[in-house]
Symmetry: C2
Subunit: 336 residues, 2 copies
């Protein structure tokens, strides 16, 4: 159903019909009524496409995320979607299934849609800035990084304050007697992991310890299985460690189950800490010490940052303080 059709049906010009439908002044009350009624009866809804073409203002947001199977990400996506929707934006949404190639494809699609802003949760396993981000710049589309960034791209990033929380984790573990930390997570080549690694190292050094490459275990996927296997391997290879930090809940439980099977006590022999705090304690086999990330706050900052970008303001990175929730999995280490 188009404007023309309802103009025809009510015997007015398209211009008049348009004015009536958009509640603009300068239309006879009677005419307006007739037009509105016809529109309702015929089920007329103005074409966004056509409107966007003449308006030049899409109110569309491109949201690209590696995947939403993790508790953290699905909630983050929902929260972002919700906030933007309330502000009148629509979301074009895609996941990359962690495959970098889709990132390029989707960025192009977003440009094609002339979105007002792109929100990008990086998927690529290497850091050198991908050249397709250039296209955004050339088309004047602002970019907001979410929880990680590519280097050399001039765009703000909204993220957890990892430096701070990694420091907190280290302090906590050491205070409980654990001093051989292992971190399991995504490729060290990506910015997010790199920050964690250097933060752990810095914090450890303050205690005369350190966190080297060997203490970082790269998982190809962040799930139960891969963490389970990685932990089994650690034990088999007789690596020295007494605490494991993982990037999310599922991986933490993968590690936990492997430890249990090998008769290592959690806590006691090994402490386990994970990022995320999204499963109610009553659900899990053990209440783990974890990092609570304030998702609504994060989403709020994404909205704020995006809106600033869209209004051409200069915008700064935004780091959100996360909170360490101490529970059972990091109780004091057994005396040796």
């Amino acid at each position: 159903v188009t404007l023309k059709e309802i103009a025809l049906a009510t015997d007015v010009s398209e211009a008049t019909a348009s004015l009536a439908l958009n509640d603009r002044p300068g239309v006879n009350a009677d005419t307006r009524l007739r037009v509105l009624q016809a529109a309702r009866e015929m089920g007329y809804v103005p074409s966004y496409t056509a409107k966007a073409l003449s308006d030049k203002n899409t109110k569309l947001i491109g949201l690209l995320v590696p995947d939403i199977r993790s508790l953290f990400r699905s909630r983050l996506v929902q929260e972002i979607e919700h906030l933007f929707r309330e502000r009148g934006y629509e979301i074009i949404f895609a996941t990359t299934d962690n495959e970098g190639k889709y990132e390029s494809i989707m960025i192009h699609k977003f440009v094609s849609f002339r979105v007002s802003c792109v929100i990008l949760y990086p998927s690529l396993k290497q850091n050198p800035s991908p050249d397709y981000l250039e296209i955004l710049k050339k088309n004047n589309i602002p970019l907001v990084f979410l929880n990680g960034r590519y280097e050399g791209v001039n765009a703000p990033c909204v993220s957890i304050d990892q430096v701070k929380v990694c420091q907190e984790i280290v302090e906590h573990l050491i205070s409980r007697g654990y001093s051989h930390l292992v971190y399991m997570g995504s490729s060290a080549k990506i910015n997010n992991s790199r920050i964690k690694i250097s933060s752990f190292d810095k914090a450890m050094q303050q205690h005369g310890l350190n966190f080297v490459e060997e203490n970082f275990i790269e998982l190809s996927v962040n799930n139960f299985e891969s963490a389970y296997n990685a932990t089994k391997k650690l034990i088999k290879e007789k690596k020295i460690f007494d605490s494991i930090v993982t990037s999310d809940t599922y991986t933490a439980f993968g590690a936990y189950n492997a430890l249990k099977e090998e008769n290592l006590k959690v806590p006691g022999d090994v402490a386990v800490v994970h990022f995320d705090n999204l499963l109610a304690p009553g659900i899990c086999a053990i209440n783990m010490t974890c990092v609570e990330q304030d998702i609504p706050q994060m989403a709020g900052h994404v909205l704020k940052t995006a809106e600033e970008c869209m209004s051409q303001k200069k915008v700064e990175d935004c780091y959100i303080t996360a909170k360490l929730i101490v529970r059972d999995s990091t109780a004091g280490k057994k005396a040796e």
Copy 2:
């Protein structure tokens, strides 16, 4: 960056530039090269909006879901997004936060976008078919219901075969000695719950038992807390029951924790079964008997159904067989 700009830059007409960029015959090889190069340098990406306006073929899908905080739904959404993306469709995605009013708003937006198809996971707590679905019909936009439907709307539905799996649950519980079933889930007014209720009743009747209104506990939200509270209330009010079925994992653990606190053994005193099979057993406090829903299969049928609708074929409802996974929470009932 527009066609006009690159036409200007390369000193050809827009028509020629368009032909060159779309790889159509009838363009001098040299000209084509110049155009292509200019396009690359300038970061030209054709406007989807403009293209859609002249093409009349959007390859856009509107996907509307109550929320994606549940494990089941976030996976389902990701799977659907993935399959459609592979087929060249884009997804406009929104959640309704379980608020019916957003359903109306989003359906209008989808029409405005002239999407090729709407996929609707119902949010409304009442069943009478909402009138905004009329607008879809008037604008010739096919609709596919996902996991539930509104009555009186002529559109196919892709869903778990609830009748069958409810029957299976009842048979299983009875075989283990449990005969007083309670189901906790969304409002009985919605189609999905109604089907479960009538299926439970039918299956129970075959054993000389029955499932009445009293056996259905309506949860305002499907989460840990509300199931926890509902279970506490059941106990306080001394209702007779020896088995609880819930609509997802979180609610099942809410019930489980309430039972444990009241010193009821699971299994033994009470059996617990839930829909979903999405948390690795090693994560949970108890390995629960549950209903496995094949999400990739479901997403596949959604794609198939949507494509059939879009090509104007007549389309049937599609029921996907779910599987009962028997684990520890329904082991035999204690002798009384």
